[in-house]
């Protein structure tokens, strides 16, 4: 409990309990009512019975509570504080969590200053209020964490399911005897565990900072999007244009002899919908350089000096910082992976 400021505390605790009504009054010169948790709970019950803090009046509360020694004065002030304390509850529904937390902090600050200004005897009540408001904030934060947690596993589940579809599709293609996306197969489990990263770290700070979680998820997500790419399906069906590429010996970025996750078989062709002459050609024509296709989807890390001027300019910017751009570089296979960027700085 809150220690009395009185230096001499030889006697039994500064409170004495009045046996009949159960009220706790301090032994200070000015007897003040101490709102214990129990008493407060009864108060809350009564208020709820009466239809909420706005409907209840000190008189009715007093009647319902039926606690001897409780005066209207006590109830009036407590009810007022209670009503104030209730407000954050409503506001959480309207504002974003950040705003609400900020409001809470403001309110706490305000009440802390109020605490300072009051006499010590009121302090316990004020501090209790502040603590309760903190609890409220925490509860809301916890709620948000729950939402976040569930969202994450749902996204993961969907990603796994998509993976199964894609795997099936590629197997079918392979079975049908068409050259399949070797790159995709080789990606194996990595691909398509499309768990998206958590919201940006600044949001998470409110949640008591589960930064390691953020990193984890972002890792996962980077790995997952890995697959995407260049899902090279070399479907020879004329109806489909492929992102597939032909490996050329003069490939600027990759040594064709290297085993690279995104290598494709030599006989993969880029197919355009050239046959559909009555349609607008919107797909870029085969530029003859495999890398260009990768570029625009999920970029491969360019070998130094191999970039064309504008590409290097573009990539320069990407190097600026992982948090502000859509690109992450992984350690191993020198590929850029995609992270949807919240704020893309160009």
């Amino acid at each position: 409990m809150f220690p009395s400021k009185k230096p001499t505390n030889i006697n039994p605790p500064p409170m004495c309990v009045q046996a009949d009504s159960g009220l706790v009054l301090t032994t200070d010169p000015k007897p003040r009512l101490r709102w214990t948790v129990e008493l407060h709970d009864r108060f809350v019950d009564a208020v709820n019975q009466l239809g909420g803090p706005d409907k209840a009046t000190p008189k009715t509360i007093m009647r319902v509570m039926g606690v001897k020694g409780l005066t209207l004065y006590h109830l009036k002030s407590h009810l007022q504080k209670f009503r104030l304390g209730k407000q954050p509850h409503k506001e959480f529904n309207d504002h974003s969590l950040k705003d609400a937390a900020a409001l809470e902090l403001q309110r706490n600050a305000a009440s802390s200053s109020r605490i300072m200004g009051r006499t010590m005897n009121d302090r316990s009540v004020q501090v209790t209020e502040a603590i309760r408001m903190q609890l409220e904030v925490q509860r809301r934060l916890h709620e948000q964490l729950e939402v976040q947690k569930h969202l994450q596993i749902r996204i993961e589940a969907q990603g796994k399911y998509m993976q199964s579809i894609l795997e099936k599709a590629y197997q079918t293609l392979a079975a049908e005897g068409m050259p399949s996306g070797v790159g995709y197969k080789e990606l194996g489990d990595q691909a398509l565990d499309a768990s998206m990263g958590f919201p940006s770290p600044h949001d998470l700070q409110l949640y008591g900072g589960s930064d390691h979680q953020v990193m984890d998820l972002q890792q996962q997500m980077n790995q997952s999007l890995d697959g995407f790419l260049l899902t090279n399906n070399s479907n020879n069906d004329n109806d489909n244009a492929c992102l597939g590429k032909k490996m050329r010996p003069h490939h600027p970025y990759m040594n064709p002899n290297e085993k690279h996750p995104f290598l494709w078989d030599d006989d993969l062709q880029v197919q355009e919908e050239a046959s559909k002459s009555d349609q607008i050609q919107v797909a870029p024509p085969d530029r003859g350089e495999g890398i260009d296709d990768i570029d625009d989807v999920y970029e491969a890390k360019p070998a130094a000096g191999m970039l064309s001027a504008d590409q290097s300019a573009g990539l320069e910017k990407k190097f600026e910082g992982p948090s502000s751009h859509g690109w992450h570089q992984t350690d191993d296979d020198r590929t850029w992976q995609l992270r949807p960027s919240k704020k893309l700085v160009l």
Partner: protein
């Protein structure tokens, strides 16, 4: 330059009766437009981002000034499009008092080309179905459009690709009539999911919250409504690949409280070739098995007239029936259902005794007056430009990926949308969302919970800042890109045949734990 060109163009639309004259004028006009290039606009040419959506937006709401986009500010000066006044009677001539001096100040390279493309597209739409209809004029305009977009070698800009799809759609209307497009040429055919389509679908999911928003919102509502039920039966209007249900199953097995998940049965409405559906069902069953979720799958067929008959759904006693209606097929083998089909499905909810109906659709922009084809066409242009912009804003470097998504998924949908706009304009149908229809039919609204709303906000937070969630009424969440509403997810309760409507139902948010001692804070 623009002014000159526009003046030239004014003539043809005014005398559509004399075709030969039109042709002459047009030929003259087109060649005259040739020399207008971005360089003419000097220092402004490279400055603007291709915020095409704002461009179109500014054309539709000419009074509206966009502060966030430089292009928007500039266009407000031009008052180029007085399209807002009377979209129905739009002709090129009426609309373009482009001031020569304004030109010098305004247009960047992208803006200029974009504006030109939009004008041409609208002109073509006008020619196809406006008050001065002329298929020949339309044809010529489309030829010109194709030239312009084809010029963009190597993929072109976003605007060009968007314009290309719309050009394509209009061409299709011209060639084959609207009917081909009612089907919405999907690159996905029954029984065969091309890897391209799947790739594009996955890309779309990764690049935008578009798909997940609808699915997750609907699923959360379903979770809440079926809390405590032992058997859940979902009747799905368009299962597509069944992607929606993967996350629902996961959520069912992950419910706090540790109770075993309810038995989940999914009945999908099938049309014709059901091999793909069986495959989907197998896949879902396998997934469910991997989670330990009891699951069964069945199909029910639509009638020959595409109507849904509740009787064709087997209902087990004691199960909670949920109707799920996702009307924005991105991965669907089926054509977008006809209005009658959707009507029959939604109406069947009451007959089947469904507890809740979840609806995901593309909302129409509120238009008080009935719009003709041109107005609807512009609406679709506006909508898809927003989608384009949203993808580009999030992934500006990944042109190839976006190009694939645009080609495989969005392009066919544009064609379908344009076709529908044509058909509906012709038949004088009053467009309105299915949500409005349901409200009118007396469906009750089921409140979207805080949990659901928070989930949507968090989901959007994973993507670009431009996405927003709005609440519309108590039972609808809307995903918007900047100012344009793209998708809405709403939750409804069908009326039991004889009881009065119950406006809300209490929702128990799933997954919210109460802290100890926090009773203080509960209402």
């Amino acid at each position: 330059m623009m002014q000159v060109a526009m003046e030239e163009a004014r003539a043809p639309s005014g005398c559509s009766s004399t075709t030969t004259t039109i042709d002459d004028h047009i030929m003259y006009a087109w060649t005259d437009w040739e020399p207008v290039v971005a360089d003419d606009w000097g220092p402004f040419s490279a400055a603007l981002t291709d915020d095409f959506h704002d461009l179109i937006d500014s054309m539709i709401h000419a009074d509206h000034i966009f502060d966030d986009s430089p292009a928007g500010d500039l266009f407000s000066l031009t008052q180029t499009p007085s399209y807002d006044s009377s979209p129905r009677s739009m002709t090129i001539g009426d609309s373009v008092p482009v001031e020569a001096d304004v030109n010098a100040a305004c247009y960047g390279g992208g803006g200029d080309k974009g504006l030109r493309l939009v004008h041409l597209l609208v002109a073509a739409a006008e020619a196809l179905a406006g008050p001065h209809k002329s298929p020949e004029l339309a044809r010529v305009i489309l030829v010109r459009l194709k030239e312009l977009v084809a010029q963009a070698a190597g993929g072109g800009t976003s605007i060009e690709r968007l314009a290309a799809h719309f050009t394509d759609a209009l061409q299709g209307l011209l060639d084959t009539g609207a009917h081909a497009h009612l089907g919405g040429r999907s690159s996905v055919r029954d029984g065969h999911r091309s890897a391209d389509a799947l790739t594009a679908f996955q890309l779309l999911q990764d690049m935008s919250p578009y798909i997940k928003f609808g699915h997750f919102t609907a699923n959360q509502a379903i979770l809440e409504e079926t809390l405590g039920d032992r058997r859940v039966h979902i009747v799905d209007y368009d299962i597509a690949e069944g992607v929606q249900w993967a996350s629902l199953m996961q959520a069912l097995v992950s419910r706090p409280g540790g109770q075993p998940p309810p038995h989940l049965r999914i009945t999908t409405v099938s049309r014709g070739g059901s091999r793909a559906m069986q495959e989907t069902g197998r896949r879902l069953a396998a997934f469910a098995a991997s989670l330990g979720q009891p699951f069964s799958f069945s199909q029910c067929r639509l009638d020959a007239d595409e109507r849904f008959r509740p009787a064709s759904v087997k209902v087990v006693k004691g199960e909670t029936v949920v109707m799920n209606c996702v009307l924005h097929p991105t991965m669907s083998a089926i054509r977008r259902g006809s209005a009658a089909s959707v009507t029959s499905f939604l109406s069947g909810a009451a007959v089947l005794g469904a507890k809740v109906v979840t609806l995901v659709e593309e909302p129409e922009e509120e238009e008080e007056e009935e719009r003709g084809f041109v107005g609807r066409f512009m609406g679709e242009l506006h909508r898809y430009s927003a989608v384009w912009d949203s993808l580009e804003a999030g992934f500006p470097m990944q042109e190839r990926a976006r190009g694939l998504v645009e080609k495989v998924i969005l392009g066919p949908r544009i064609a379908g949308a344009v076709g529908r706009a044509y058909q509906e304009a012709k038949e004088g149908e009053r467009e309105g969302g299915w949500g409005e229809w349901m409200a009118a039919m007396g469906f009750g609204r089921v409140r979207i919970s805080c949990f659901n709303h928070s989930q949507a906000k968090l989901l959007l937070g994973l993507f670009n800042d431009g996405y927003k969630v709005e609440e519309d009424g108590c039972n609808k969440l809307v995903l918007a890109w900047k100012t344009r509403r793209l998708l809405s997810a709403s939750v409804w309760k069908p009326l039991p045949p004889a009881t009065p409507p119950c406006p809300t139902s209490p929702i128990v948010p799933v997954g919210i734990l109460a802290l100890e001692g926090s009773d203080f804070f509960q209402d």
